[in-house]
Subunit: 229 residues, 2 copies
């Protein structure tokens, strides 16, 4: 289909959709939206053609208007849904932790949840990043709301970490938050599943982030711990 | 002129051009290219209009073709020149270091040089990132060559650090390299000069990167050292 999909760039699509019937309206809707995310990330807002989406999703172009009233409505959904899904995924991972989990371990769990989801939804991440300034403001409304809500989740993680005393005092928590998210988000631009596994990348990212902010740095033991588990 | 320029996003333009006559052909050429970088970052390749560039640069549209033979030639230059300039700047910073500088200190010096330049040329960085897949392959040729050359510089820094024993052995040097560059490059998306100074951000980024990869983590002393200097 495309280079990115062919090399396994969106394992989410495979994993989530393979076990169920692929011809239902929800599957078709998702297939069209995935195709739209890819086209938007590659062609940009001005170059986005519904016919290109239809060709990739293997549907007739008019079928798209069964699900979305307009080209802009489809684009609007692509712009915010990646952030919304990543936020849901990360929030659920944090909710599943024992209540006595330390602030550092919560942050490190969020690193894994965020990174896995960004890699699974890489076309959505790229589409949103690359078109943030290209789409009309009306299309950005829900995306901006999602970004703010998700930013709030991360601000809270860094705030709690800062209060716990496990974070280096001289680091501005907002700078730390954005440096972490930059390191993680950028992975969708360069990570090559033929070169290294998601698990290896996640373990390295966790080690990297932990060291980057920890107050009284100690040798990283996360791998050893994982190996024992 | 634009929000980004008005809030000091491209101090390079001010610093480099203010002392010399601003009306010469080189200054006009630079002004047009800066405007083209801005338009390309905001509108994307398909939405790029030479008339919009002319309006921002305050020249007549035909004047642009005095400097570039075509719209695509102008875009081609915007795509690679940001990386090339950042590479020159970082290489020069490294060359200026004493020959006995440790691998870690060389890396930390590169973090500063890279970050300062990315922030100064943020329109170029954004234009290149957002249009990497949008422009025809011919336009990407020199950009890809520059990216590879610059990637080579960073690979060398991480390779030397890895050999020095100052880097955590379990970290894949390539993963570390790309996580660092992601954290730094992303700064052009969120850094707000009204909220924090470049110097503060650079100091935080250096502390962040040092901790992220150091083998036997110790409390960061870079600030104290700087304060004593």
């Amino acid at each position: 289909m495309t280079r990115r999909w062919a090399n396994g760039g969106t394992p989410a699509a495979r994993r989530e959709e393979t076990p169920v019937v692929e011809s239902g309206p929800e599957q078709t809707r998702r297939r069209i939206r995935d195709a739209a995310a890819h086209v938007l990330s590659v062609k940009g807002y001005a170059g986005f053609r519904v016919t290109a989406v239809a060709a990739i999703a293997e549907v007739q172009a008019p079928a798209i208007y069964y699900y979305w009233a307009s080209r802009d409505e489809l684009i609007e959904e692509v712009m915010w849904v990646g952030t919304a899904a990543t936020r849901d995924h990360t929030a659920a991972a944090l909710d599943a932790l024992p209540s006595d989990t330390s602030a550092m371990d919560r942050l490190i769990a969020a690193v894994e949840a965020h990174l896995r989801h960004v890699l699974e939804m890489s076309d959505y991440s790229r589409a949103a990043i690359r078109n943030a300034d290209q789409v009309p403001p009306s299309i950005r409304k829900r995306q901006i709301r999602e970004e703010n809500l998700y930013g709030e989740l991360w601000r809270r993680l860094l705030y709690d970490l800062n209060r716990s005393g496990d974070m280096r005092v001289e680091l501005d928590p907002y700078h730390a938050q954005m440096l972490i998210l930059g390191a993680l988000n950028w992975c969708s631009e360069w990570w090559d599943p033929r070169r290294s596994s998601v698990d290896t990348l996640v373990a390295d990212a966790q080690s990297f982030v932990r060291g980057s902010i920890i107050a009284f740095p100690q040798p990283d033991r996360s791998r050893r711990r994982r190996a024992q588990a």
